[in-house]
């Protein structure tokens, strides 16, 4: 599991910088595609056509938005706390960007192949919380503060079920390293954890229901952690103007925007790595497998889950705060703990 860029350039500072920049180069076009997808898929799901007048069938719409956001006036309210107000979008973006350090793109390329990849992703998620609180408080706006409060309550609540899912996978895989988790699932499609993992025999069928429940639990809690609908009460425009980014305009708002889309990719990639075999081909090791195909499968599968998030956004209404807490603490957490226990027990007797 050597790093491709280190092999290519050698282990020096240039290679390190290149590795740092690759995720950024990935995020920017990805964000454009995701924004276009959000607009277009949302429109199609409502029998509309979406943006049509910018480029061919509106494909340049996100570019126009970036050009516009660059020109927008950058307002800092007079009574806002200026240092924190200006720092917050960067902290939020760092949180999203840092997670890319351990996300594998293929068998050969992973920016940093540390052995604690899952734990790291889980830990840097907390940066977003700090950034959101910082922005919400520094805006000196009651809606911002309310949105920040809601966001923190929500993210911290839903980190617990997500953590239980991570623990279950770590228990069965015996590692926190993403590449090893993916390697465990390589081979034919039924080696993926959602289909019971690599172990053979009848016990595999005992695993499947628990993994499916864990998969759904993580899908739901990942939506909550990225503040996506139906868990977008931190920025619920019908109640609190725009939540924690009410006072942000121009490029600072674009940073929040980009962090949200980067986070969408991160959680989708985590779903793919934990349950759907990461960069491994669904046709086994013989067909359409290899480092380049690995990038294709990894990004393709992750994009499918980005699509699922968009799909859910245009399907479901927003939850109320108490319903959100009910779902998090009374449904997802007990279910995930029960599944963790069951999987640990099954793994022990296996």
């Amino acid at each position: 599991m050597g790093n491709f860029v280190f092999d290519l350039i050698g282990k020096n500072i240039v290679a390190a910088l290149v590795i740092c920049i690759i995720p950024l180069v990935f995020i920017l076009p990805y964000a454009l595609i995701a924004i276009l997808g959000e607009l277009k898929i949302g429109a199609w799901m409502q029998d509309r056509v979406g943006p049509m007048r910018t480029g061919w069938k509106g494909v340049l719409q996100p570019v126009a938005e970036v050009v516009k956001l660059l020109q927008k006036e950058d307002i800092t309210p007079t009574i806002a706390n200026k240092p924190l107000f200006n720092l917050a979008p960067f902290i939020v973006f760092i949180g999203a960007f840092a997670a890319f350090a351990v996300l594998p793109f293929s068998e050969k390329f992973i920016p940093s192949g540390i052995n604690l990849g899952l734990f790291f992703v889980f830990a840097v998620g907390s940066f977003a919380v700090i950034g959101i609180v910082m922005g919400g408080w520094a805006s000196n706006n009651k809606y911002s503060l309310l949105g920040a409060m809601r966001s923190v309550a929500q993210i911290i609540s839903y980190e617990l079920p997500a953590g239980m899912v991570f623990l279950s996978i770590a228990t069965i895989a015996g590692t926190l390293d993403m590449q090893t988790i993916i390697l465990n699932q390589s081979g034919p499609i039924w080696n993926w954890y959602i289909f019971g993992g690599p172990q053979g025999g009848a016990i595999k069928f005992l695993f499947i229901p628990f993994f499916v429940i864990l998969f759904i639990v993580y899908l739901i809690s990942s939506l909550a952690e990225t503040n996506r609908t139906p868990f977008d009460i931190p920025e619920g425009e019908s109640e609190i103007v725009a939540g924690y980014h009410t006072e942000y305009s121009g490029m600072k708002f674009a940073m929040f925007f980009m962090a949200e889309y980067a986070n969408m990719y991160v959680v989708s990639a985590i779903i793919v790595i934990l349950f759907l075999g990461g960069w491994s081909s669904p046709f086994g090791t013989s067909f359409m497998d290899g480092p380049i195909w690995g990038i294709f499968w990894m990004v393709g599968k992750a994009f499918f889950f980005v699509f699922v998030q968009i799909w859910l956004r245009w399907t479901l209404p927003r939850l109320r705060v108490d319903q959100l807490m009910y779902l998090g603490w009374k449904v997802l957490l007990p279910l995930s703990i029960a599944c963790f226990m069951a999987i640990a027990f099954l793994a022990m007797i296996n």
């Binding site: 540390i114 052995n115 734990f119 840097v124 907390s126 919380v129 910082m134 923190v152």
Partner: protein, 170 residues
């Protein structure tokens, strides 16, 4: 390259810790702590203690710092809190001065007496592999009692918090 990184992070820790100590705005102090914790985590990484570093980020930044900020923010009038309130005057300066002087002398004494390693020993190899496996084994065998006691302390804290937050009907 690693040394340069070390000095950058050390400067970051000291600078943000100074902000935490000297700022008058209590929220600046809380947010400066973010950088202190982050710098400490980075230093852990440089020392090849990756598990400790990520635990530092998760527990201190994700947990404790959020808690502190939450507490500070929910307190009214955070930005105009007068930190000097209460026990002021010359006596407090004198007491604080004595204590600081004692601590300072103690640390200087330590600095001269401690057998610091100025160079990396030849035979010690920094682990390339993760520290997570030996850590888990040690926690489950040699240090099980300490581990369990720590969890009991946390349990007591949770029960106490629940007791305080309980609605008093009487």
């Amino acid at each position: 390259m690693l040394e340069a990184l070390f000095y950058i992070f050390a400067a970051m820790i000291i600078g943000s810790a100074a902000v935490t100590a000297f700022t008058k705005n209590i929220l600046y102090a809380a947010f400066a702590l973010l950088f202190t914790f982050f710098g400490v985590a980075a230093i852990y990484v440089l020392l090849s203690a990756d598990f400790l570093a990520i635990s530092q980020i998760m527990i201190y930044i994700g947990g404790i710092l959020v808690l502190i900020i939450f507490g500070v923010m929910l307190t009214t009038n955070v930005s105009i809190v007068d930190i000097k309130e209460g026990f002021t005057g010359k006596t407090s300066f004198i007491i604080a001065g004595i204590f600081s002087a004692i601590t300072c002398i103690f640390f200087i004494y330590l600095a001269f007496k401690m057998p610091f390693i100025n160079h990396a020993p030849k035979d010690v190899k920094l682990p390339n592999d993760s520290t997570i496996k030996p850590l888990g084994k040690l926690l489950m065998t040699n240090y099980l009692l300490a581990f369990e006691v720590a969890s009991v302390v946390l349990l007591i804290a949770i029960i106490g918090a629940a007791m305080i937050a309980r609605r008093h009907d009487d």
